[in-house]
């Protein structure tokens, strides 16, 4: 299978996003996160973007203060995964408008939604950037309608009270 997990880790080792594409107990997830981030964080910029970890390949790339990390299987193509990461970053950048770590902290669920539209079952499902973006925005619009309805109902409730 393609991507087994997708992590966003800050330079200090804090998890900003962790998406798993196979079932694993929480304890083991935490161990992998710990191991992999300690492997990746110490690497120098000129080094290659691949590390091996327990028979799996780790592909990562650093953007500003964040490490984007993918765990993939032995026979997967590393470079193409590297570009999946880049694609994700580009979409986040478009979505948030010059994205920074803070955006992803305060809107962590959005980061998940965007990733959900990009990757499914560990595979790239949508290679067009605009399509991913419009799917996410459409989802946003859908919940926006809900939010408006909420407000209206609240107002109606308030009016009734008086």
């Amino acid at each position: 299978m393609g991507i087994k997990f997708f992590l966003l880790i800050s330079r200090q080792g804090k998890v900003r996003l962790a998406k798993w594409f196979y079932a694993l107990p929480t304890k083991e997830r935490l161990k992998i996160i710990r191991d992999v981030s300690s492997l990746v964080i110490v690497r120098k910029p000129k080094m290659c973007n691949f590390v091996e970890y327990k028979g799996e390949k780790i592909v990562y790339r650093r953007y500003a203060s964040l490490f984007f990390i993918c765990g993939i299987e032995q026979d997967d193509n590393e470079l193409i995964i590297l570009e999946v990461i880049h694609k994700y970053v580009e979409i986040l950048d478009k979505y948030f408008g010059n994205v920074c770590e803070l955006d992803l902290i305060f809107n962590f669920e959005k980061a998940y939604y965007v990733l959900e539209e990009l990757l499914l079952a560990g595979e790239l499902q949508e290679s067009s950037k605009t399509n991913v973006l419009s799917a996410v925005l459409a989802g946003d619009a859908e919940s926006e309608v809900d939010a408006q309805q909420d407000t209206i109902q609240k107002l109606v409730g308030n009016v009734k009270k008086y």
Binding site: M47, C48, V51, E78, E83, F106, E123, K129, N131, D150
Partner: protein, 869 residues
């Protein structure tokens, strides 16, 4: 651009946590958890609050704290009608619930409902859940809906691609759930105009190809076709161009698919097409601008090189591949170099010969000293793979040179690699011993147990090496600073084979004893116990030493370590027993039974999919729909093989001697265009080949698609080939066609006069006769003489009129050429026109041929007299 409808409480909470110090964070989290728990227990929780608190839980979970409650609230959100609640609900369930959680059943029902919904947002979000965390129960329950979404023409493309990947998840984890008949329609979807659907399907096909060798043929054609389209710059919109590379993801997947089924690329035209496509792919190496562009191009190049080697590792592509690889190995960028090493090592492991690699050896060697541990590891792997009988000595020397400069992890890796190389390529035991001793001496710290165990085993098993190694080891042991691995292996062998050097002046029994004794004090417990045994063994072979050894044992019999103490006491006792008892206990170690290493095996060949189960692909196929056409064409050379409301298949044949051609013409009888048309042979025989085939999978009404087959000679008996055509006409349609290639087509009619005929008839005798008596199929069938004669002539029998006593009987003869042998065949057919019965007798020099001809003729005659009514 981001829509900000976020919960304020959540934001405050997050920024609160960010302002706290590490140790206060936990306190704050615990307070918050208690608050949320209380809120969840109150009966008046608004949907908004529920959403907010579940979000908080998720954030806390992400920070690494365990979450033990709130699962029910997450499920409630998931089942809510509003999309915004659903979204959080699905996210929370994905993160918090594992696939065996008690609540998962509730979730499954709700997912099923969302899949059935007409709202595509709900479909999508439910498909995400299935694809990302569907367990067995969920997959079983929702399988029909997922399949429906994928196959229905009404589904939007965006939902379709999600359905494809959800189904992939199901097929990957629980292959038994998926309907096997669905595999073919999925392969057909590779042709979909929407590149995303193709992309989603391509990963699926890759898995199918790995599991189902029987489908390789079909997949192969589709994949080549699609790859050709993309590479030649057609069939995609600008949306799918990633840094001026058209959909690199799909290209990579297609290459990998083709690599998995490259064995199916046999016929020349397919091979030519593929080579042409690969040639184009390998040519875009030059004008590269940005990192992204470079990565995308290189990702494809690496796959293309692997594929090119698999298809043809000596032809025109070879030089191109070598150039690419050479450039990449020398590339300054670490990623490219890493992957170039990886790919080269892979190619060598597949058995490809890459002589020009030797020019890069220095460069690869120097990569061993890079700071980057990944690159070091890869270069070591590659050097290991490059090693062959010819260059093994020089590679090992080079590796040893680098040994002292490496960090301990790489040292360990290198040592095990070198050790196994010496074992594989040792033609001279001195070399083997020297290299291994050097490993133990220079980097003993990094030698893992496997390596020195193996070394000891090899020495024990090879008598010729024993004296030499023991002498060398003895010398090395004189040094004060020796690593434990060296001490262990050295002393062990000294205990076994010390007697071989006991006559030499500087290594007499006493020196041997002193050497071991000196090491004893400074060693770890594990080594100590081993050394005690060595002393016992020494004293067995050299009785003079017994006193000294006994005093050592005495000294250690009061050791605080129980293991050492026990051994020392026991050994002391042994020494006091009669000496023949000791010699039995201290027998020489027997030869170890270990499997010898034969070749470098660090790489499992990635492309070779198991082909062993391809045999069961020859199952019974449903061919009923094409039978009437088949029977007719058995005795005619052209006509309609199959026709229904959508498609018509015409056939034209030409046979003479043992050669033949068959052309099939496919016509679309509807006004609309069908897509994804393909024709594959389900059953064939060795000399039956596809000569030329249509290349386009678009099946438009105004066009005729053609496929041509040929047979150049007949080596034996065969079953008529079966061809499967399939296409998408709203839904997927497929028809199996039995091709009218039968034995009688190859027969040469001959005519005999009466006496010759009956002479031969008698000679062949009853034992080589196949006789069948039968009536016709169908109530209204009527046996008709003119038609009967026509059919018999069509079946290539030469008629010999008037030689039978009964004038209604039909007598004929023919010659078959099978495997360069002439087989004579004689026919006598006795029709009964009143009763519509036939008695058929065929005699032949080969009984099997007679049987085949007779049954075949029976089938044809039975079904060829349907009256027009």
């Amino acid at each position: 651009m981001v829509v900000n409808n976020q919960m304020k409480g959540l934001k405050t909470f997050i920024s609160d946590l960010r302002n706290l110090k590490e140790k206060d964070e936990e306190k704050r989290v615990n307070i918050e958890l208690a608050k949320i728990r209380a809120k969840f227990q109150s009966s008046t929780l608004s949907a908004y609050d529920r959403k907010k608190y579940v979000s908080k839980l998720l954030y806390i979970y992400m920070l690494g704290y365990p979450i033990s409650f709130g699962h029910l609230e997450a499920v409630k959100l998931l089942t809510a009608a509003k999309y915004s609640e659903k979204q959080i609900g699905y996210l929370a369930v994905a993160l918090l619930l594992n696939e065996n959680h008690d609540l998962i059943r509730l979730v499954i029902n709700s997912i099923k409902k969302d899949l059935l919904s007409l709202d595509s947002y709900k479909n999508s979000i439910a498909l995400h859940a299935v694809a990302n965390f569907g367990g067995r129960e969920m997959c079983e329950t929702v399988y029909p809906e997922v399949q429906q979404l994928l196959m229905s023409a009404a589904t939007e493309n965006i939902v379709r691609q999600k359905a494809a990947l959800s189904l992939l998840h199901i097929y990957r984890k629980f292959p038994d759930i998926m309907d096997p008949d669905l595999r073919e329609p999925i392969i057909m979807l590779l042709d979909d105009d929407d590149l995303n659907v193709s992309l989603a399907v391509s990963t699926f096909v890759l898995l199918i190809v790995c599991r189902e060798p029987s489908l390789h043929n079909l997949v192969c054609k589709k994949a080549i076709h699609k790859l050709k389209l993309i590479v030649s710059g057609r069939g995609y919109s600008s949306d799918y161009v990633y840094y001026s590379v058209p959909c690199p993801w799909l290209q990579v997947n297609l290459c990998r698919i083709l690599l998995a089924c490259h064995k199916e690329v046999i016929d020349d035209s397919t091979k030519r097409t593929l080579i042409h496509v690969l040639d184009r792919m390998l040519s875009i190496f030059d004008d590269i601008k940005e990192t992204q562009h470079l990565n995308a191009i290189n990702a494809i190049l690496f796959e293309a090189i692997k594929l090119a080697f698999a298809i043809d590792d000596s032809g025109s592509l070879y030089q191109k591949c070598m150039n690419c690889l050479g450039k990449m190995i020398a590339d300054k960028e670490a990623n490219v170099r890493y992957l170039a090493f990886d790919t080269t090592a892979y190619l060598i492991s597949c058995g490809h010969h890459i002589p020009s690699l030797k020019t890069h050896k220095e460069l690869i060697l120097s990569s061993l000293r890079y700071k980057d541990v990944s690159l070091r590891k890869k270069s070591l792997e590659l050097l290991y793979m490059m090693c062959d009988a010819e260059n093994s000595k020089s590679v090992v020397d080079d590796l040893l040179m680098y040994l002292p400069y490496l960090d301990s992890v790489s040292q360990e890796d290198l040592i095990s690699k070198v050790a196994s190389l010496t074992e594989i390529y040792a033609d001279d035991y001195k070399w083997y011993v020297d290299v291994n001793l050097q490993l133990l001496r220079v980097a003993g710290r990094s030698v893992n147990d496997d390596v020195w165990h193996q070394f000891v085993r090899v020495i024990v098993n090879n008598e010729s090496t024993q004296q030499y190694s023991v002498r060398r080891l003895f010398k090395l042991l004189q040094s004060d600073s020796t690593h434990e691995c060296l001490v262990r292996s050295g002393c062990y062998l000294l205990g076994e084979y010390g007697y071989l050097i006991a006559d030499e002046p500087e290594s007499g029994p006493l020196q041997q004893f002193l050497t071991v004794y000196k090491k004893l004090h400074a060693s770890s417990t594990r080594t100590k116990v081993l050394l005690l045994t060595v002393l016992l063994k020494l004293s067995n072979l050299q009785p003079d030493l017994q006193k000294r050894v006994a005093s050592v044992f005495k000294q250690y019999s009061v050791s605080l370590n129980t293991e050492i103490q026990q051994r020392a006491c026991e050994y002391l006792q042994l020494l006091s027993l009669p000496s023949d008892f000791l010699s039995i206990v201290c027998e020489k170690v027997p030869v170890f039974t270990i499997p010898a290493k034969s070749q470098p095996s660090s790489f499992i060949s990635k492309s070779d999919v198991s082909l062993t189960d391809s045999l069961n692909s020859v199952k019974e196929f449903d061919i009923s729909s094409s039978l009437s056409g088949f029977y007719r064409l058995c005795w005619r050379d052209k006509g309609i093989l199959y026709r229904d409301s959508q498609v018509q298949v015409g056939a034209v044949m030409e046979f003479h001697d043992s050669q033949g051609y068959l052309s099939l013409y496919f016509e679309n009888r509807q006004k609309e265009t069908f897509s994804s048309f393909s024709a594959t042979l389900l059953r064939t025989f060795p000399n039956f080949q596809v000569d030329a085939s249509f290349t386009d999978s678009i099946f438009s009404p105004d066009k005729q698609l053609q496929q041509r087959f040929s047979i150049d000679r007949l080596d034996g008996l065969f079953d008529p080939p079966i061809l499967r055509i399939s296409f998408l006409a709203g839904v997927m349609r497929s028809v199996n066609l039995l091709l009218p290639v039968v034995l009688s087509k190859f027969m040469l009619p001959t005519v005999f006069d009466g006496s010759t005929f009956f002479q031969r008839w008698g000679k062949m005798g009853l034992e080589r006769e196949a006789q069948l008596t039968y009536g016709l199929n169908g109530v209204h069938s009527k046996l008709d003489e003119r038609r009967l004669v026509k059919i018999i002539l069509g079946l290539n029998w030469g008629l010999c009129p008037g030689i039978d006593m009964n004038p209604t009987n039909i007598v004929g003869a023919g010659i078959l050429q099978v495997n360069a042998q002439n087989i004579g065949c004689l026919l006598r057919l006795e029709p009964n026109y009143q009763k519509n019965m036939i008695r058929l007798s065929i005699r032949s020099t080969n009984t099997t041929v007679a049987n085949v001809l007779a049954t075949n003729m029976q089938d044809i005659l039975k079904n060829s007299f349907h009256s027009e009514a």
